[in-house]
Structures are given as C-alpha cells and as structure tokens.
C-alpha cells in the first residue's frame, strides 16, 4: 500500500486527512452500488401474485422510493458533505505557522525549486527535488513559467493547480524521512508524463547540511579534463539556458546546474543521474524526451567527454 504514488496512504497530515475522506467515499460508493444492484435484480426477478391489486403494489413502491431514494441518500450525502467540508477546513492551512517557504515553478517539463536566501546567504535554486525537514509544515508557493501544470505529491498532499499569472499556495508536511514521488497532474504537453517531482524529507540536521552545501558556489575545476569541459560549457550554447553559480553562465531557461551531481535524476525523473545517462542526455536530449526545450548541441566526442567530466565536479 506504500506505492510511490499511493493516494490512500498518507505520509503527512494533509494527505492523511484526504486519505480518510477518500476511504469514506470509496466505502460509501461501493456499498451504494452493491445495495442498488441487489435491489434492482431482486425487483426484476420477483414474482407478483395476481391477488395483490395494482394500488397496493404502488403503495409499497412509493415507500421504497421515499425511504431508499430520498431519505437514505439525503443522510449519506449530508454526512459526506460535512466530512468533505471538515477535511477541506483541516487541510486549508497548517495548524501552526509554516516553518519555511519554498517557491516551486512549473516549466515544460520540469520543476524549478527556489529557497529564498537571507543576509549573505544566496537563494538556493535546484530542480525537481524539494528537500524539506521532517515534521514541520512547509509552505509551497506555486507559479508557472508557461502553461497550466498541477503539483501533486500523492503521499503528502492532493493536487494544487499551477497557473500562469497566479500564485497558488499549498502546504506539505512529511511525518517520516523518505523520498516521496510526485507528478504533474494537469496535462501540459508532449512530456507531461515525464515531469516528476520528488520531496526528500530528512532530519533537520541533514536538511541544514544539504542547504549549506547548496549555498556553496562552485570551485574552478582542478583536473585538466574538467577544466576543458568548463571551456566547452562556456563556448557552446549551454550557458544560454543554464546557470552555474560562480561561473559566467547565468541562463534562466533551463535548470540551474550549480549542484547537478547532488540530484537523483536528470530531466525531471526521466533518467537516473549517472555518468552514462548524463552523457546520453547531452548528446541527444530529443531522443530521450522528445519535444523538450534542450537542443542537441553539436559537439566533438572529446568535447562531450570533457563536458561530462566538468559537470561531474558540480557536487
């Protein structure tokens, strides 16, 4: 029951409340379908004796309609309505003030994730992975860079639409450490199904460690392959779209690559983040995720090697 995208086993207060309502709706619906089916079949197969008059039969029928068709449904629907309103109330806002706010921006077809800096700390920008400390409510401010998306981490919270020109707010809280997978839940184009998001819930200490590591700017590469790779990155079209903090690359169209190696996947869950996949992705992004904005960059074999060596230093 703990499948990555399970909707009826919550791992946080929002999803748990919604799961309870979900179970109620599921059970009520099944019971109603079974009861109605049995009654219809029973009515259909019942033999009528010729002695009972039409009037008597109609009288009994009216009772069935009033009780079974009006009173019982009214009670069931009123209970369901009350349960729904109560659940919506309980999940609309966190019980205590959110511990932190994360900006999540939907792009075709990946998620930009931003943690505002403060004082001397720079804004941390990553992609497709939302790191949060366990046990505290996290406020998510959802916006879109292009079309309508929907942000959905089934085990943590139901869907919230991500609409261009509008800032929607959701909140999540993970009760236990773990990786919670999510998906875009509003059809947004060719690669809608390859637009995964991951919430990585970790202990407060681990979260702080992660944040500090993400705030670092990158160091100049020390080995010669990687140094050539940086030159390739800056000479080719990469830097038109990507940022690597601490270099001259400040593109905003694609994901920030400053700490690329720290991420689990490439291209919003399309590939595991391994050397082979990284090379394949750069060599031909269109074969892996047709229609995405990353073009195939003309590179020599040796340039691709150097580029991968450089990207692997972005810890």
């Amino acid at each position: 029951m703990n499948w990555p995208l399970a909707i009826l086993t919550g791992a946080g207060p929002v999803a748990s409340a919604q799961a309870k309502l979900g179970w109620w709706l599921l059970v009520v619906s099944v019971v109603v379908v079974v009861v109605v089916t049995v009654l219809v079949l029973a009515g259909g197969f019942r033999r009528h004796s010729n002695e009972t008059s039409m009037v008597e039969r109609e009288g009994a029928g009216v009772r069935w309609v009033v009780v079974g068709g009006m009173i019982v449904p009214a009670i069931v629907l009123t209970l369901t309505f009350a349960f729904t309103i109560a659940t919506e109330n309980a999940t609309a806002a966190p019980p205590k003030v959110a511990g932190m706010t994360v900006d999540v921006i939907g792009h075709r077809w990946w998620w930009e994730v931003r943690y505002a800096g403060g004082g001397s700390a720079p804004t941390v920008i990553t992609a497709n992975e939302i790191h949060v400390p366990v046990g505290i409510p996290v406020r998510l401010e959802l916006t879109s860079a292009d079309v309508i998306h929907s942000f959905w981490i089934p085990r943590l919270a139901g869907k919230t639409d991500v609409v261009p020109g509008q800032r929607n707010v959701a909140w999540i809280q993970a009760d236990k450490p773990g990786i919670y997978r999510g998906a875009c839940a509003e059809y947004c184009g060719l690669q809608h199904s390859n637009m995964a998001a991951f919430v990585v819930a970790e202990s407060p200490a681990q979260f702080e460690q992660w944040t500090n590591a993400q705030r670092d700017t990158v160091r100049a590469p020390s080995d010669s392959d990687a140094a050539r790779g940086l030159v390739v990155f800056q000479k080719s079209s990469c830097m038109a779209c990507h940022t690597i903090r601490g270099t001259s690359a400040v593109g905003r169209i694609g994901p920030d690559l400053t700490h690329l190696v720290s991420r689990m996947t490439i291209a919003a869950g399309s590939l595991e983040n391994t050397r082979g996949n990284l090379a394949g992705w750069i060599a031909n992004p269109q074969s892996i995720k047709p229609g995405n904005d990353m073009p195939t960059t003309p590179l020599r074999g040796s340039e691709l090697q150097a580029l991968v060596a450089y990207l692997e230093t972005l810890k």
Binding site: L271, R275, A279, G280, A283, N284, S287, G301
Partner: protein, 117 residues
C-alpha cells in the same frame, strides 16, 4: 531489386545457423541488468532492453553480426570488453564515455550483446 534480395538472402544463409559467440565469464542476464545500471540505453537502442531507446549512438541490433567495433577493430569478445571498459583506448576522441565499467560487468554486457542475432 531481385539481385539485392538474392544477395541478402545468400548472406543470411551463409551466416545462419546457431553459432554463438561466447564471452568467458560473461552472463547475458547479468549483462541486461548492467546495461540498465550504467545507462547504455540513453545513447543506444538495444533490443530486449525496454528503456534503451537512445539515438545518440548507433543502435545495437544484430550485434553478433557486426564486423567492426567503432569502425576501428574487429568485433571480437576481447575487443568488445575492452571497448566497453575504456572506449578511448580503442578510439581516442570517441564520444562514448568511459563509464568506469569493471571488467566483470563489461564481460556480462558483451555476453548480452552477442545474444543479439
């Protein structure tokens, strides 16, 4: 057209039969897993590997029938294992990256590729 057909069908007969290139110490089933682990499929289309649909590198259909590796060396198990381990050692400047594949895994991968007939 007929001539081409006659030629290809002739080739098929000549190379037909159940000859199989064995790779010492290589296990095709383990090779299938290793191919997925190292991400070969993000560049190569490989029959029998559902996720291997890449087009950056050549497709590996009919691997056992290929004459050359990288157009450089003959397609023998020893060269193939070496190619998977350190492609640059066979063709300097190739785009195929050195993925740090250990020899055992390289043998498994090679064994799988030779099942592609």
């Amino acid at each position: 057209m007929l001539f081409v057909f006659a030629l290809t069908s002739g080739c098929r007969e000549a190379s037909g039969g159940e000859e199989h290139v064995a790779v010492a110490g290589g296990d095709p089933d383990r090779g299938r897993t290793a191919i997925a682990t190292f991400g070969c499929g993000s560049c190569h289309t490989i029959p029998g590997i559902a996720t291997a649909k890449g087009t950056a590198g050549p497709p590996l259909f009919f691997w056992s029938k290929r004459t050359f590796i990288a157009g450089e060396v003959p397609n023998t198990p020893d060269f193939l294992v070496r190619w998977i381990e350190v492609p640059q050692a066979i063709e300097p400047g190739t785009a195929m990256p050195n993925l740090g594949v250990p020899e055992g895994d390289a043998r498994d991968i090679a064994a799988y590729l030779y099942t592609l007939r």
